[in-house]
Amino acid sequence: MTLGPLLIGIYVFVLASFVGFEMITKVPPTLHTPLMSGANAISGITIVGAVAAATTAPPTIANILGALAIVTATINVVGGFLVTDRMLRMFGKKKKK
């Protein structure tokens, strides 16, 4: 049996989905919002694809689309992680008191 790139990709997709399912079994309601927000930031991983889509200097349509993808993905990543941290910092601070 030899696996083509698509099949390997599908294997990876299915296995990673199981990892995702297994990780989120018991979450206290307190963490629903931060968890959603943190996972949301991770979905900005599409930035890796966006970077590869804007690599030439002349402003072609493909490049502009790629650059737009970089802007939106970066907003998702930077904003997502920062806002999650802001929320979680609040849970942390009362611990010390």
């Binding site: 399912f21 963490l31 919002t33 931060p34 590869a52 802007v71 970066t74 990543v77």
Partner: protein
């Protein structure tokens, strides 16, 4: 090191490390003690992934990349730093929408570059490969739905779209499924069309996806938006995964799939907390005031109200107080005032705890975040199952801008729209004070019979102002 070695060995190892960091990150995010660390781990994983992506590119023109990243960082950081804790659900929805559209843009850009600009002969499937062509269309479809769906969710959360009420078009299921089917057909045609003819079909697909996002979200009421945002979060993960198939990058496939699955589970957990099925949420129309709700009139007949001074006198003799915060507290930004009142009462020897309904506020866990912001100790926030047996032996309950989650009708009338939804049994306490701006209904659009109970007193007004009044009165005791 040659660029080939970097591409064939170094970059894949970087991506692998970043995958592992994502797994640890999400895992740790699901426990209170390790959550912040988990978020940091995931962020480091993301940074590594970006470094890997830049290394993989080698020497290219970086101006667009750098410009886009700088602009995105400024916008993202500005939003994240300035947003009020009360608007957190809107923020998550907005970022989610950006993530979705980014995946769709990546796919469109790849398509445009390889098919339209380089213009190879043959069908789209022949030019970029069948698998890639299919996943390009899927990225556009899912990413587009995620984008407009998230924007509508944001507007519903803000109440700027018909006050968050469901918008029900005639024959909406027919229209929605028709458009979904049409969009899939456009996508299929775009895959098999000759490269030069495919643009119109791709644009039709994109347009269809954007409209679908709106149609799927508008019939769902504002109260259910957290579930929708969580589900859209799952979609944005799947969209990223599809983009991973397009560019053949396992990191995107894995990261996207994990977020997709985790988002789906989280959505399910939220539905269970509301005693609803996901299908029931998605069909929409929940909370429409159609007046067909049996004999129960929406008019209130015997409501008693009082001012802060009377409430303070009752509080003077109370040994135990439970505070139930709801969305009204968030709107009034009253989280600091409520803590101040609690501190005053505690200084007088009164036992104060908080009863947190799983869907209090606008998003599960939203109240916990708000009260944490006001330095309310974590141990005082009790979940519904823990606090419900306590109400019988409690002297005073103060309900701050919560409504449906304390409506006893949920467990009494099986025809009620909120029948079966678990509630906080506030009515079992000796005295109940409801701080609310008016008698207007909550998201479910129904009357709350608790307001007519003999042991209930309404204190009308903005939660913060009422609390400040109460604080003044308690100080004078």
């Amino acid at each position: 090191m040659s660029h080939e070695v970097i591409q064939s060995t170094v970059v894949p190892i970087i991506y692998l490390v970043s995958t592992v960091l994502f797994i640890f990150g999400i895992k740790r995010l699901s426990k209170v003690k390790t959550a912040r660390q988990g978020n940091t781990l995931a962020a480091v994983g993301m940074l590594l992934a970006i470094v890997g992506a830049l290394l993989e590119l080698g020497t290219v023109d970086y101006r667009w990349i750098a410009g886009g990243m700088i602009l995105g960082t400024i916008i993202g950081a500005a939003f994240a730093i300035r947003v009020q804790m009360t608007s957190m659900p809107e923020m998550v929805a907005l970022f989610n929408g950006f993530g979705g559209i980014a995946s769709a843009l990546v796919a469109t850009s790849v398509y445009w570059k390889l098919v339209v600009q380089q213009g190879g002969a043959g069908t789209v499937a022949e030019v970029i490969g069948t698998d890639e062509a299919i996943t390009v269309m899927l990225s556009i479809l899912i990413g587009g739905i995620t984008f407009t769906g998230s924007i509508v969710a944001l507007m519903k959360l803000q109440g700027s779209l018909k006050n968050g009420q469901p918008i029900l078009l005639p024959a909406r299921h027919f229209i929605t499924f028709g458009l979904l089917f049409a969009s899939i057909v456009f996508g299929v045609i775009a895959v098999v069309a000759a490269g030069s003819d495919s643009v119109q079909w791709v644009l039709l697909l994109a347009g269809g996806a954007l409209i679908l996002g709106i149609l799927l979200t508008i019939p769902i009421g504002g109260a259910d938006m957290p579930v929708v945002v969580s589900l859209l979060n799952s979609y944005s993960g799947v969209a990223a995964s599809m983009a991973g198939f397009v560019i053949g990058n396992p990191l995107l496939i894995i990261g996207g799939a994990m977020v997709g699955a985790a988002g789906l589970i989280l959505t399910q957990i939220m539905c269970v907390a509301m005693n609803r099925s996901l299908l029931n949420v998605l069909v929409g129309g929940f909370g429409v005031t159609d007046g067909a709700g049996g004999g129960g009139s929406d008019e209130y007949t015997s409501v008693t109200s009082c001012g802060p001074e009377e409430a303070a006198m009752v509080l003077e003799d109370a040994e135990s107080v439970i505070i139930i915060p709801g969305y009204g507290l968030a709107v009034a930004q009253a989280q600091h005032a409520v803590r101040e009142l609690a501190d005053l009462l505690k200084a007088r020897g009164t036992k104060v705890t908080y009863g947190i309904h799983p869907v209090a506020g606008r998003m599960p866990g939203h109240m916990n975040v708000l009260l944490a912001e006001a330095d309310v100790p974590y141990e005082e926030l009790l979940e519904m199952d823990v606090i419900n047996p306590e109400f019988k032996s409690t002297d005073v309950v103060i309900i701050l801008g919560a409504n449906d989650v304390v409506n006893p009708i949920a467990s009494k009338d099986p025809t009620s729209p909120i029948a079966g939804m678990p509630i906080l049994n506030a009515h079992e306490a000796r005295s109940v004070f409801v701080v609310k701006r008016s008698l207007s209904p909550g998201y479910a659009g129904i009357k709350n019979e608790l307001f007519e109970y003999d042991n209930t007193m309404m204190i009308f007004g903005d939660a913060k102002k009422v609390l400040q009044g109460l604080i003044g009165e308690v100080k004078d005791l």
